[in-house]
Symmetry: C2
Subunit: 236 residues, 2 copies
Amino acid sequence: MKNTILFRQLLDYETNTYTYIIADADTLEAVIIDPVYEMADRDEKLIKELWLTVKYFLDTHVHADHITGSSELKERLGTGQIWVGEQNKGISHNDLFLKDGEILTVWNIHIKVLETAGHTGWCVSYVIDDMVFTGDLIFVRGSGRTDFQSGSNQKMFYNVRERIFTLPNSTKIYPGHDYNGNMSSTVGEEKLYNPRLKEANNYEDFETIMKNLKLPYPKKLEASLPANMKCGHRCG
Amino acid sequence: MKNTILFRQLLDYETNTYTYIIADADTLEAVIIDPVYEMADRDEKLIKELWLTVKYFLDTHVHADHITGSSELKERLGTGQIWVGEQNKGISHNDLFLKDGEILTVWNIHIKVLETAGHTGWCVSYVIDDMVFTGDLIFVRGSGRTDFQSGSNQKMFYNVRERIFTLPNSTKIYPGHDYNGNMSSTVGEEKLYNPRLKEANNYEDFETIMKNLKLPYPKKLEASLPANMKCGHRCG
């Protein structure tokens, strides 16, 4: 990571969600990836303490396990634009739509948008410098689930293999969640060790694993989906 | 942080403890700071997956809230030396004693030992490159408690002000614990915003805050202290 990048990873203990603040260290212009509604007090305080001006609120997808903090923070801070994917036609309260391959800039920071569906029908990853923020596509030694919200095993496998594993091996992976106390990984590590998506597995191996996960129903889904379809606007 | 440093921060959810792995990226020689006994499976697996050879196990102090994983990992991995402070005369199963000001080297990584008592009668911080690992001396916007194990408000205040706040403002602070989802801070931030130890507070302010904390008795103290006095040796 360049020395000119200010970087913070934050955890919401209740939903195991990671939020990321990335800022240009000289101008203090910032982007926030995947803020959590309930953590708005903490995040607002930190953003103000660091004298940051938020330019973009970037969610990786429409979350089912928590409500995004994007609208709440935008309203409190009075700055920033909320960007969501162009496929999310029913969404409201966003400022702009993201396209695959688009590059957002925050002074000297370039944020490349990769369309990486699989966990849901529309997800993106963000590549910044030597880091990739993968949301619920690939986790440290795991992956997001694919069994609701138009999730797709085929898309997840394709997007990890063709869009994440084609980044340099040293690229740091910063996931949307972790449940074992890991903060990050690298592309090289996940190619070797990800039990679901490693290079030694073929698609049939992956599909068998995903079909046998037997995961519980997401407990916050009914509240989260409609709220996130309006970018978490006035959910309190 | 130099690009030649491999860095991992790990969390134990049960005790909110952070463990750190720092390695020379070329030779893969590593140090582990504050491993947790119950997380030995995770940590052993990660160390092996990253092909690391552990040279030093470094605890910041004799913990009261968890048992160190140092002895267990040393035994499982068959490498590494456990270093503890020279003031800990009653301790056993360590290989060597640390002195204030000592510099340990792991190839191109230099680890400077700072004696920083306060949370307990003996604690150290480790300075590596642009990072300082402060154990339970100073947290992100907080500090360790001082009400047992020969803790001292005077020593904590002195050591934070004279030994941590004299590092460059950009130095990253990596604490032993956090309870709000923060992973790190900087010296500059804590000088301004630490509610207990910020520069705007004098010693009397700090002492008043610490005397009014009314913290519960550490629930794992009876198990942790005797186990940690033998570096967590065969505690399973």
